[in-house]
């Protein structure tokens, strides 16, 4: 598997680490239900999924990757700082 880092270009999967689904962040003070849902519950689709990866062994950038979990096809990659700003 290869992911195209917006900064470094296409790199082997082994340079990246995976966090999970890229979900909208709750307010820090949001109540426990909201944080419970954010941290634990997942739509977990068999298909396109927006997820967070970090180019940990490369440039260190966090990426928002849209990837099909059924085929592993990568549909889009952006820098998380831009996507989440």
């Amino acid at each position: 598997m290869r992911i195209c880092c917006p900064l470094c270009g296409a790199r082997d999967r082994r340079e990246y680490s995976y966090r999970g689904a890229a979900l909208p962040l709750p307010d820090l003070a949001a109540d426990v239900e909201v944080w419970h849902a954010h941290v634990h519950l997942r739509q977990n689709p068999a298909g396109p999924l927006e997820e967070l990866w970090q180019h940990e062994m490369g440039c260190g950038a966090w990426l928002k990757v849209t990837r099909n979990t059924a085929t592993h096809e990568i549909l889009a990659v952006t820098l998380a700082e831009e996507a989440c700003a």
Binding site: R14, G60, A61
Partner: protein
């Protein structure tokens, strides 16, 4: 803390001798390749503050004669080079960073944080191909190109400094492993004749 950390204050008082990261490990000559330690000069991480990218690049141009490098690129000038060192980071190698850059970027002295070696010889990329998951074909990774990647299981910075010559950096404490892994790769490629 204006005193630049790591810089000898007055040589007369020196009692602490220096030890380089690869002391006792290098140089090595195997097959057609030479592996040598690059003498540790000053290394400064330069991380531009928000919105200061252009100003910083201009200031760098002015004081060090090199603008902020694009991703995967490096600049070289006399006794100094500036290599892209990851997201929003460049590494100034050689002279200490000018203090007047401080308002524009976080400057972090990492002069002693890295082991830096130079691998030279025809087909050096064949040696690195044993350790680095990077496309190093000459037409792809040209002189002046620089990448943050992994070397075996270590974070590394690799820069093509000349035809058949690469500068390789890993954290200082990993110097032994770096030399061991490169040596093994050189021996294996050499043994194929």
């Amino acid at each position: 803390m204006t005193l630049r950390e790591g810089a000898p204050v007055a040589d007369a008082m020196m009692e602490l001798t220096e030890t380089s990261p690869c002391a006792g490990l290098l140089p090595l000559r195997i097959g057609g390749w030479a592996l040598e330690e690059v003498p540790p000069g000053a290394l400064t991480l330069i991380a531009p503050y928000k919105g200061q990218e252009q100003a910083l690049s201009a200031a760098l141009e002015a004081v060090h004669g090199m603008g902020f490098p694009a991703p995967n690129r490096s600049h070289a000038a006399r006794e100094a080079s500036l290599i892209w060192f990851g997201r929003a980071q460049a590494l100034l190698i050689g002279p200490p960073a000018a203090e007047d850059l401080a308002p524009l970027a976080a400057l972090t002295d990492v002069s002693d944080g890295w082991a830096m070696v130079r691998l030279e010889g025809a087909g050096a990329e064949d040696v690195l191909a044993r350790l680095v998951p990077l496309d190093l074909r000459p037409q792809v990774f040209e002189i002046g190109h620089s990448a943050r990647t992994e070397l075996k299981h270590m974070m590394a910075s690799i820069t093509k400094v000349e035809e058949n010559a690469f500068q390789i950096m890993v954290f200082r404490s990993l110097a032994r492993t770096l030399v061991h892994d490169l040596k093994r790769a050189m021996e294996a490629v050499a043994a194929r004749g």
